[in-house]
Amino acid sequence: MNGPGINDFTLRIATVNGTGSASANGLLMKAIFRMGVPVVGKNIFPSNIQGLPTWYEIRVTGDGYAGRDGETHFVIAMNPETYADDLAELAPGGVLLYDSTWPRPQLLSRPDVTVLGAPLSAMCNEAFKAARSRILMKNMAYVGAAAALLNLDLGVIEQLVTEMFAGKEKLIPLNMQAVALGHDYAKQNFKCPLDFRVTPLDKTKGKVMIDGNTAAGIGAVFGGATFGAWYPITPSTSLMDAFQKYCEELRVDPETGQNNFCILQAEDELAAAGLTIGAAWAGARGFTPTSGPGVSLMSEFIGFAYYTEVPLVICDIQRVGPSTGMPTRTQQCDIQLCAYASHGDTRHLVLFPAHPGECFEFSAKALDLAERFQTPVFFLSDIDIGMNDWMVDELTWPEDYVPDRGKVLNAEQLEEVDAFYRYLDVDGDTIPYRTLPGTHPKGAYFLRGSGHTKLGRYTEKGPEYKEVVDRLYEKWKRAAAFMPEPVVKKSDRPARYGMIAIGSSDAAVTEARDRLEAAGVPVDYMRVRGFPFSDDVTAFIDAHEEVFVVEQNRDAQLMNLLITETSAPKEKLVPVLHYSGEPLNFRFVYEAVETALKVRKIA
């Protein structure tokens, strides 16, 4: 489809985790970003702390596509353990750079790629004394070599190094020395730069590189969340880390020293759910981040919040399931669980952010929806969005934003009403009023997960029970209109085919769509952003002969939801499933659709 070229190639750095390579890799990515060239960074790391293979992939994408390419053009192979895999990974014509302190002739086994050896360890061992700094400096040395090969701006790199070591200034020259070692060696020994390389552009102004968890944490701060509880679990931990960090920076009352927030580390996910529900019932805007296993454990409490109508925001940062699965790999495999979690008839609201910009927006949106509809809301992200740095528009917060706290009666209002009934739909919008503890004796009511009437009393009578659960169903349906509307990218020409995707699949699907169109296959694309689905989704399916549902799980969970929760005929939907654990790439989508259409033509 496309080959590597100027500002259009993918670099993959293979290292061992716990060796400090993360900052070197970040530096490389940032350098390109600062040169005005859009980048995509993907961190593929193992589920341990030290000593296992890890990769960092940087796609340089002058066109500004935000997804993965699917091919690798340049590998910096620093981990002998994975040399074979790294070599195999390279596209024909690609380049592999490795540490030739220990020469590896077998790396020459592929005639269609170029292998470059630089004695990085040898040079660093010679230049630096301390054992730990030798390891760290080797990372900077490959940064230098890459800079030479890819035409990166050394000034920009120096600036980044300077920022990195603010406060430890004496490390700056040492690190720049290591950069120079690699850089100079490359200049002297290889043809620099390579054919595919970076040239400055002006496409990153007004942009930031941020991961979705951090953005969601900031969103919760700006959205007015005052409560958070969580039990640590990869890959959700950094969401709460961010919330905590910015709360501590921005939310401590300067006069009293008191916190205008409360964050509790729970003893497990059941407790995290209980803490959050308890706080929400008492009136705080709260949320709990977790991942699949956590949602499983919260299931009982989720049904409780649904039935008792307590606002509850759960941020599920998905990882590969089932069970512990691959905790550092990405999937979209909890879609169905989040839609229906818990026993009995339960159905929830789900938001599908597609990138950190939306994480920022939707984490606040989730709080609004939860309080408006008094029900569990899932913020459904994944490792790819949550833990990778994405280039997005600088985050800005609407000046006029007012948190939607939903229907809460205060003391004055309670004083005025004749009587307050917790589950009575007084104004026909399917949402009853609630009250907070400590407000007014008239507002007192008893919350229970057992059968209750619309007045809030205990019941075991079928008709009284039904009245409440029927309203819950109506309330849930009504929420469809309040979900963020789908985003549609239409083909210039009338398209017989459509694609539907959610969340982190968006970037790859968008690119695949464009390229299919460029290749003469007009395809419309709808990105769904919330569940329950709006009527637009049905209309989109109706308007096409066939719709490819692209998602990152084995069981076509999104497609199944579309089948049961829209009126569209199921025959039109075709699953495109990717579930290896690596973030989706556009080639996969392109090829899946192309192949499917070829089959149609033949048949």
Binding site: Y246, R251, L264, G278, Y401, L447
Partner: protein, 351 residues
């Protein structure tokens, strides 16, 4: 099957408390428990304690799990918010609620099944956090609502109604709580209303988590011969170790007391708890020695009651979490929103 509200008839010259409320103002819905169930006595003691403390019911939050015991939160203080959560998970819900508004009084009600089996972890961690709440563990050695299985507080050798003998060692909530750093540990008996009311008042006044393990017999499934949680057995082995009276900040301690036998513990609210040791060499302010006594009493089957341990020095959750005076739900958004400038600045590191 709807919950019935007791008819409210105020008698002439009925006594009232500092708020002008009668004892009946602290009632709730009519109990649906078995006639004679210990839990109903605990309910009465709670209502009485709040009445005597002149607490405004609307400033109380009642929380429970699932079980006969956990149902009782509807049977007192109808003007207070209450919640029946899910089985064994009341502590987390209560902790979350308590984090929002430190100016209310939190009452948890649970059973031995709810707290010591499914809920053991949550109870332990609420104790660790020293959540400012009183935790009534209505302990009958049995799962009442599911009709008579052994609970984790059953003593070795205790007999089930259907005949089986319990072989597993009990989890004594008081011992367990002490072992993980509880700051207020008491035990009482549903049949001793006077002691119970005193302890509840002291527990409410305590800063932090106050556990009251109340032996509260189940007449339907665990009140037979051979049960160590029956009324008869409890009366027989009942032993009062330390009596505790709450003295509000306004009152001076006038009762004269013998230095060796009684002592006041100062509370953070300016009031105090006046301890009267009924057992001379029992020191309820020494954790290791309280533990020793409790473990000894386990050997002798003695049921040691009263305020078994108190430590007013450890900060409650509200303090170590630096919770604000204003409830979290009422902090104006202008204070919560760091503003556009801050947002711009914090993004410097993402460029």
């Amino acid at each position: 099957m709807t919950s019935f509200v007791k008819p409210k008839i105020r008698r002439l010259n009925e006594p009232t408390n500092g708020l002008g409320k009668t004892r009946a103002d602290y009632d709730g819905a009519m109990s649906t428990l078995c006639a004679g169930c210990g839990h109903d006595s605990v309910t009465a003691a709670l209502a009485r304690a709040f009445y005597e403390l002149s607490t405004d019911p609307k400033d109380v939050v009642k929380v429970s799990g699932i079980g006969c015991s956990s149902k009782t939160t509807t049977y007192f203080l109808k003007d207070a918010h209450g919640a029946n959560t899910v089985h064994g998970r009341m502590p987390s819900f209560a902790t979350g609620a308590a984090a929002v508004n430190k100016n209310l009084t939190y009452v948890g009600v649970s059973g031995d099944g709810d707290s010591l089996s499914i809920g053991l972890g949550q109870m332990a961690h609420a104790i660790r956090r020293n959540v400012d709440m009183i935790y009534m563990l209505e302990n009958n050695g049995v799962y009442g609502l599911t009709k008579g299985q052994f609970s984790a507080s059953s003593d070795i050798g205790s007999k089930a109604k259907k005949g089986a003998t319990n072989m597993l060692p009990p989890i004594d909530p008081a011992i367990m709580a002490l072992s993980i750093g509880a700051t207020f540990v008491a035990r009482s008996f549903s049949g001793d209303k006077q002691q119970l009311v005193s302890l509840i008042k002291a527990g409410i006044a305590h800063r932090g988590f106050a556990l009251i393990d109340v032996i509260s017999p189940c007449v339907s499934f665990n009140d037979h011969k051979g049960s160590t949680k029956s009324y008869a057995h409890t009366y027989q082995y009942y032993h009062k170790a330390v009596h505790a009276d709450y003295v509000p900040p306004s009152e001076e301690i006038t009762a004269s007391y013998d230095e060796g036998e009684a002592m006041p513990v100062e509370l953070h609210d300016g009031g105090s708890i006046l301890l009267r040791k009924l057992d001379k060499d029992y020191d309820p302010t020494n954790r290791a020695s309280a533990m020793e006594k409790l473990m000894q009493s386990q050997q002798t089957q003695e049921i040691l009651t009263g305020l078994l341990y108190i430590d007013e020095s450890r900060p409650a959750m509200a303090e170590h979490k630096k919770l604000p005076e204003t409830p979290l739900h009422s902090i104006p958004y202008s204070k919560l929103n760091p503003g556009a400038d801050a947002l711009r600045k914090l993004q410097d590191e993402f460029r």
